[in-house]
């Protein structure tokens, strides 16, 4: 919880990406979240992913609602567009922005309160419609800003900091996203950047509704014994499906795996995501099996992480609406008001 700005100094041998930016160029202002907050790690993973993909920061729009998680867009991508909306209304604002300018990369950042409670309906419909976005829920299972009440994603039986057990059943955001028709669904953990960063990269490259449920321990109110969203609990109950390697169209493949143990999925821009399978044979393309697997593991108290489901030929909102190739905000007066002659033509066609 530092109020001092991060020094401008950087490592003299710092890496630069294709745009000549360093990862420091993707930073935002200094975080005011609690020291050790999982959300800050997720911010860091987002910056890392954007840096590694060499994304021009001004081509990214970050949108959020209300809550600790929704504060985070201030702390990353300081050169990007941002919109901090009303509580739970991020998905609608994002949908509108996306309709107006489909050329930007949309990053929806939300929390379990913002998306699983007040904004649950908004979340559901943006996913249903297949808005081309990366929707990240920074899920800590607790209302941190109001001092630690259970949230809608707290597991039944999970204990509060004061030792009270939660009686309500939990919403599994990833399972719901699969059910709602998200074409890219993953779950990860703020404490495992080696998994989270490639997932965010793949989600950005995915052209459709990409949803990431990211468990993010709240160090102030939900990192104690009895919590199912603590660092220790997640680490010991992590049923990772796959290890991920994001492979750009150019970079050579460096790691080798035993044949049959990997699955390669192709992303929109031709880059590939290679999944090294861990444990049971799992096909990320099988939606029904994915749902089954999530429920089975949940019943045994395990947390499924990794890429859960992916449709390699997604369909997004603009496809459904059959919009023109030019983003709507770039259409000018002659295109938008084609004149009497065009109107007459349309009217004639309706007679």
């Amino acid at each position: 919880m530092s109020y001092l700005a991060k020094p401008k100094f950087h490592h003299p041998a710092i890496e630069t990406n294709e745009l000549g930016f360093t990862h420091r160029d993707y930073e935002g202002s200094i975080s005011t979240l609690c020291a050790g907050c999982g959300h800050d790690s997720i911010s860091s993973a987002i910056m890392r992913a954007c840096f590694e993909l060499s994304l021009p920061p001004h081509r990214i729009a970050k949108l959020s609602g209300i809550g600790c998680s929704s504060k985070t867009p201030t702390y990353f991508l300081g050169q990007s567009h941002g919109f901090n909306s009303v509580h739970g209304r991020m998905p609608s604002v994002l949908t509108g922005a996306n309709l107006a300018n489909k050329d930007l990369i949309y990053l929806g950042v939300s929390g379990d309160g913002d998306s699983a409670s007040i904004g649950f309906g908004q979340f559901a419909h943006s996913i249903r419609r297949g808005v081309n976005m990366v929707y990240i829920v920074e899920n800590n299972g607790v209302y941190g800003l109001t001092k630690g009440q259970f949230s809608a994603t707290s597991d039944r039986g999970s204990k509060s900091k004061k030792g009270v057990a939660n009686q309500d059943s939990a919403i599994d955001m990833a399972a719901i996203a699969v059910q709602l028709g998200a074409t890219f669904v993953a779950r990860s953990f703020s404490g495992d950047k080696s998994q989270l960063v490639p997932l965010i990269k793949a989600a950005i490259e995915h052209r459709g509704a990409a949803f990431i449920d990211c468990i993010s321990p709240c160090v102030a109110f939900n990192n104690h014994e009895g919590s199912t969203k603590s660092f220790d609990y997640v680490r010991s109950h992590n049923a990772a499906l796959n290890r991920l390697d994001y492979i750009t169209t150019r970079a050579p493949i460096t790691t080798e795996y035993e044949p049959g143990t990997t699955q390669v999925v192709t992303l929109h821009d031709g880059s590939k995501l290679r999944l090294a399978k861990i444990g049971a044979d799992y096909d990320v393309h099988d939606r029904v099996a994915a749902m089954h697997h999530l429920h089975t593991k949940q019943a045994s108290g395990e947390i499924v992480t990794g890429l859960i489901y992916m449709d390699e030929t997604p369909h997004d909102l603009h496809d459904s609406l059959d919009t023109v190739d030019t983003p709507l905000n770039e259409l000018n007066t002659p295109q938008l008001t084609p004149g009497q002659k065009a109107l007459d033509g349309i009217n004639a066609s309706l007679r």
Binding site: M1, S2, Y3, L4, A5, K6, P7, K8, F9, H10, H11, P12, A13, I14, R24, C34, A35, G36, C37, G38, D40, S41, S43, S44, S190, G191, K193, P217, V219, A220, N223, F231, D232, R235
Partner: protein
């Protein structure tokens, strides 16, 4: 790899690069913080305890600390440590009341031969303990080469008088104007111990044709400088050639400019970068309109009717021989003649001990230096110790001070009938600097800020009088600004695995990407796998195991800004900023056996 043992006093000491590089291990960041706080007196006393001559060193030190300074690695230039030391000396209050009061006499008598920095340090360390210290010097005033060799425009006499005075005022007996011609005579006076700090008093000569014939206009640099210092020499010819590339050469050429030399040229055998002179001294000389010519080897002094007319030089270049050694070979170009009225030879200094009898048991090595124990400075006569330039050949003031401290420890233990080879290690301490969630006892906000220049008198004024000090020193405002460039490297990042929950907060916040949590491995493997590779092998990596995931925490010390952000971001206090204090073992109870 093996986890780092931070209880080893050297580990964190090495992280404080300036302190580690300083022969006397002055706690640099500590006194710089005092300067920033405006507490010049405390800053001065910290220095005084460690290096005895803060005002003198703040103007003349060879500053091994500065090339070592971490600021130089993360930005362009190091903190102006040396000139900050001067700030403490310039703006301190009266410090006489803070000087130690000597204990009652313990009955032991110590002779120090030569009144330079090494001897005066021995006297400073021993007199307060009750020793009766007698310092002998051929000159009437104490100070040695600090007084006779360093031109007054770099080091005013008042500063020497003040700081030499602090030492002599501790009840030290100074016998000036008394040249010692026999060590035996001193030994016969039944001193309990004798310290020889006679420096390297002989300037090296240059035997080339014409040397004898033109002798009237060819001067040995160090002798000439002391003649200037004493006022015996007040002028020099209009055209002067200074031979040599060390700091003495720089003092000679700049002094010449002030005594009537209009065309003063420094001529050096080797290249500019290989010159022994400190970069800033070369800069100061060039700033006064003195060209430095390189790759020229003097061949002959030209003369007419017993008067020097010039020097002939052969042009050379550096060639590496089969063994990779550098050799200077003639380029074959025609020789160069530089016409001049006077030549100053500054081609090196030598030790000379004609006054030590060779039959009293004191052994010399084949280079004519006394055989000494390199830690205790004890000679082959058990109660005779050496230090400063007299011990291992010409170095500089700060080394002389460091030798003096060590020799004083030896003498103290020797006089207390202890084994002088047993050297207690320095005392160290680590204390948390945390005052609040984001408050520390030190200024941890680090910002880019280039080194401030020390204001100088303009050359027109400075060149008029040899006693006018060229550098004006930082004023308190500039001193504060420069002090704030210090990264507080003594405030250490201390990690405790037990408390760590591996949340990555420190990794994410570190501006220099110093911290990595990764699988264990051998050091070379680990160094390559870090977030930012640790390629500077002279800097340690800090490794701790015992984490829940079985990984190790690795921190590259090299470029750490000591900004404390890792500790501020740590939710469990696994990182803490702790000030490392190192107390050198000086003579006195600290160096003696605890029994």
């Amino acid at each position: 790899m093996k986890p780092t043992d931070i209880s080893n006093p050297n580990y964190f000491h090495k992280v404080v690069d300036c302190q580690w590089a300083c022969p006397a291990h002055t706690p640099v960041p500590e006194y710089i913080r005092k300067i920033a706080a405006g507490d010049y007196t405390s800053a001065y006393m910290i220095n005084w305890k460690s290096n005895v001559f803060p005002g003198i060193l703040g103007r003349t030190c060879d500053r091994p600390c500065e090339p070592a300074c971490r600021r130089g690695r993360v930005e362009d230039e190091p903190v102006a440590i040396c000139r900050l030391k001067r700030v403490s000396a310039d703006y301190k209050d009266d410090v006489r009341g803070l000087m130690p009061t000597p204990d009652a006499r313990n009955g032991k008598r110590i002779a120090c031969i030569g009144a330079g920095p090494a001897s005066l340090t021995v006297a400073r360390d021993l007199a307060p303990l009750g020793y009766e210290v007698v310092v002998f010097d051929q000159d009437k005033q104490a100070g040695g080469f600090m007084r006779t060799q360093i031109p007054k425009f770099r080091l005013p006499e008042s500063v020497i008088n003040e700081e030499v005075g602090y030492v002599l005022d501790l009840g030290v007996e100074f016998r000036g104007g008394q040249r010692i011609d026999s060590l035996k005579s001193i030994l016969d006076q039944k001193f309990d111990a004798v310290f020889v700090g006679t420096g390297a008093p002989r300037g090296r000569d240059l035997e080339i044709p014409g040397r004898a014939e033109a002798a009237a206009n060819i001067h040995l640099g160090i002798d000439w400088l002391s003649s200037v210092s004493f006022g015996h020499v007040t002028s020099i010819g209009k055209r002067v050639v200074v031979l040599g590339g060390g700091n003495t050469a720089m003092d000679c050429c700049r002094s010449s400019r002030r005594l009537g030399g209009e065309q003063v040229t420094v001529v050096v055998r080797s290249g500019f970068d290989e010159m022994k002179a400190s970069p800033w001294e070369k800069e100061d000389a060039m700033h006064e309109g003195i060209p430095i010519l390189n790759w020229l080897v003097p061949k002959e002094f030209k003369h007419q009717k017993g008067k020097l007319t010039g020097v002939v030089f052969e042009k050379v270049k550096a060639v590496l021989d089969a063994k990779g050694r550098r050799d200077l070979v003639p380029t074959g170009e025609p020789d160069t003649l530089i016409e001049c009225d006077d030549v100053l030879l500054a081609v090196g200094q030598e030790n000379a001990f004609p006054w030590i009898e060779r039959d009293i048991g004191l052994e010399f090595d084949r280079w004519g230096l006394p055989k000494l124990d390199d830690k205790t400075f004890q000679s082959t006569i058990p109660n005779v110790f050496f230090g400063g330039d007299a011990a291992f050949g010409p170095k500089n003031i700060i080394w002389a001070v460091a030798h003096g401290h060590e020799a004083a420890v030896s003498i103290d233990k020797f006089c207390q009938n202890e084994n002088i080879a047993e050297r207690p290690s320095p005392l160290t301490n680590l204390v948390s600097q945390k005052m609040g969630i984001h408050e520390w006892t030190y200024d941890n906000g680090v910002s880019n800020d280039i080194r401030y220049k020390v204001p100088q008198k303009s050359p027109e004024i400075a060149l008029r009088d040899i006693k006018t000090e060229v550098e004006l020193g930082f004023d308190p405002k500039l001193g504060y600004a420069e002090a704030q460039r210090c990264l507080n490297c003594d405030v250490q990042t201390v990690f405790s695995s037990k408390l760590c929950i591996e949340c990555d907060a420190c990794v994410d916040i570190c501006p220099m990407d110093c911290i990595t949590f990764t699988d264990d491995g051998e050091e070379s493997d680990l160094r390559a796998r870090l977030l930012a590779p640790a390629s500077n092998l002279t800097q340690d990596i800090y490794v701790q195991d015992g984490l829940k995931t079985g990984r190790v925490m690795v921190k590259d010390e090299d470029l750490c800004l000591h900004c404390g952000f890792c500790a501020e971001r740590c939710p469990t206090g696994a990182w803490d900023m702790q000030k490392f204090a190192l107390e050198m073992t000086h003579a006195g109870t600290g160096c003696r056996s605890k029994a």
